[in-house]
């Protein structure tokens, strides 16, 4: 029983967990144009909980209590609305809410509503960055402050971005009540892309706050899991994306030290890798092979799989092949540079340097960092030069320190 826990400990946790579910169900019930009403009712419910629980203690079943209150508040709202409508006889047609006034916070309804909400938020009318902000707010229950922290930007900027995004959603007239098969099919790519970016926002976060990073990653996993629970969205690329997220998350603990500094792959303490996540990754990767399609998530999951597989003879050859395919699907400077790293592992640093120099990414700190690494065994002066350029270009203080240490280490050996 949770009675030992005071409401002060329990409420923030419940809020994060249940607020998003509650608003999803209510939004689906009210229709998207009344999203704010749904959010008001959910907020009111939690406000009431904080007051009532402080005096009377936490009830036996806190979640059940919250849903009962939310349901009553919704009924009250409709009652007032009905009085308003009959008395003023104004033709305020709330088209979607009219016919069906009763609803349940059943598990099925919660999971359907959350799925629908994911499709609402990942709407191409908004730029991807705004979609991610919305996802964090609407699907993950993050406060504006928290979102601003994870993007390293000002709360005011985030607030404006969210307002614009919400206006766009309202104007788009997306029907949340019955999301059609066709819509799910045509929008799944956008949804997966947004969840992929949400995960990356955590995994490669600009912030050094380990807690925020873990939060973002586990939220992205939670949302992708919802997609695998519905046959319409449980596609091979969904499973591939989930496999990728599991593999990457398994190394989250080992990737940074206690100061938040990145630890190179070769130097990571492999005992810190989370084996249960690796097993789950394997499971979803196998699921992902039910189909002919090879998406970028398949390729990236494959790369992540080989990374955590104990060194085999052809490990880096496989990784290089996967990078070759990935860069053919979509060009990105990061993929191009990662590919060179794998190329160096197979063909040696010398060949990799000439390949790297054709990339012409002289404005990228990662490019110079990579060349610094490749030159380390061949030409220390050149290696130091590149590391110095990387220091000039990077905006991250921690990255600057890491690079400086690399230069010091090189100078010791020269």
């Amino acid at each position: 029983m949770t009675s030992k826990k005071t409401h002060n400990e329990l409420l923030p946790h419940l809020f994060r967990q249940e607020y998003v579910k509650m608003t999803a169900v209510l939004c689906r019930h009210f229709g998207l144009e009344h999203m704010e009403i749904a959010e008001d009712i959910a907020s009111d419910t939690f406000l009431k909980a904080s007051e009532y629980w402080a005096i009377n203690g936490v009830p036996e079943n806190p979640t059940g209590w919250l849903y009962a209150v939310a349901k009553n508040k919704t009924k009250d709202y409709f009652k007032r609305l009905a009085i308003f409508e009959t008395q003023i006889k104004n033709s305020i047609k709330s088209s979607e809410t009219e016919d069906e006034k009763d609803f349940e916070f059943s598990n099925q309804n919660i999971s359907d509503s959350q799925l629908a909400m994911i499709f609402v938020v990942c709407n191409p009318v908004n730029p991807t960055e705004a979609q991610i902000c919305l996802a964090l707010q609407v699907l993950c229950g993050f406060s504006i402050e928290e979102i601003a922290n994870s993007f390293l930007s000002k709360p005011e900027t985030i607030k404006k971005r969210l307002q614009r995004a919400r206006t766009n959603l309202r104007n788009d007239k997306f029907q949340i009540k019955n999301v059609s098969r066709e819509e799910i099919k045509s929008r799944l790519d956008t949804v997966l892309k947004t969840l992929y970016l949400l995960f990356n926002e955590g995994y490669f976060s600009k912030t050094n706050n380990q807690l925020i990073r873990k939060d973002l990653c586990s939220e992205a996993i939670r949302l992708t899991l919802i997609l695998t629970e519905n046959p319409l969205t449980n596609q091979s690329q969904t499973n591939a994306l989930l496999a990728l997220m599991c593999f990457q998350s398994s190394r989250l603990e080992a990737r940074t030290n206690d100061k938040g500094e990145a630890i190179l792959f070769d130097e990571q303490d492999k005992s810190l890798w989370d084996k249960s996540l690796i097993e789950r990754g394997n499971y979803y990767l196998i699921n992902a092979t039910n189909g002919n399609e090879i998406s970028r998530y398949h390729l990236e999951a494959g790369i992540a799989y080989w990374h955590i597989t104990p060194t085999g003879e052809n490990k880096w050859k496989h990784i290089l092949q996967l990078y070759n395919q990935l860069i053919l699907i979509e060009y990105s400077p990061v993929t191009a540079l990662n590919r060179i790293f794998a190329f160096a592992k197979v063909y040696g640093n010398k060949k990799a340097i000439s390949a790297a120099e054709t990339l012409n990414l002289v404005d990228s700190d990662y490019y110079h960092g990579l060349l610094g690494y490749l030159y380390s065994d061949i030409n220390i002066t050149k290696a130091v030069e590149h590391y110095e350029q990387a220091i000039q270009l990077t905006k991250s203080k921690i990255e600057k320190q890491t690079l400086k240490r690399k230069i010091e280490r090189l100078r010791k050996f020269s």
Binding site: N324, Q325, I327, L328, A336, R339, A355, T358
Partner: protein, 114 residues
Amino acid sequence: MKEFALIFRLKDISDFRPSPEQMQERMNWLAGIASQNKLADKGNTLLPNTGSAKTVKRNNVVTDGAYTEIKEFISGYIVVKAETIDEAVEMAKANPIFDQVGGSIEVREVLKRD
């Protein structure tokens, strides 16, 4: 930025089926161009065998195979982005088929219609 088609020709049909090792090298070359963001179209590989290749000529003359006047056959093409034809030629020079099996690569600028 201009676009150039690189048209691959091989001398012998037996050269058409590369070993895994050769395939890997060709993929590396192609991905190397894509890594510079200079691949406009990854093109196609064209099957040369009887049953997959015919040549049609005037007066309903149809011949088997990919050979026409010359004794080389086209095995595929890609389209690259380059500032000048010389740059496209440099890309072609680095193709591993010359060391693997020989053959040739024709570099042709793509006519851009407005």
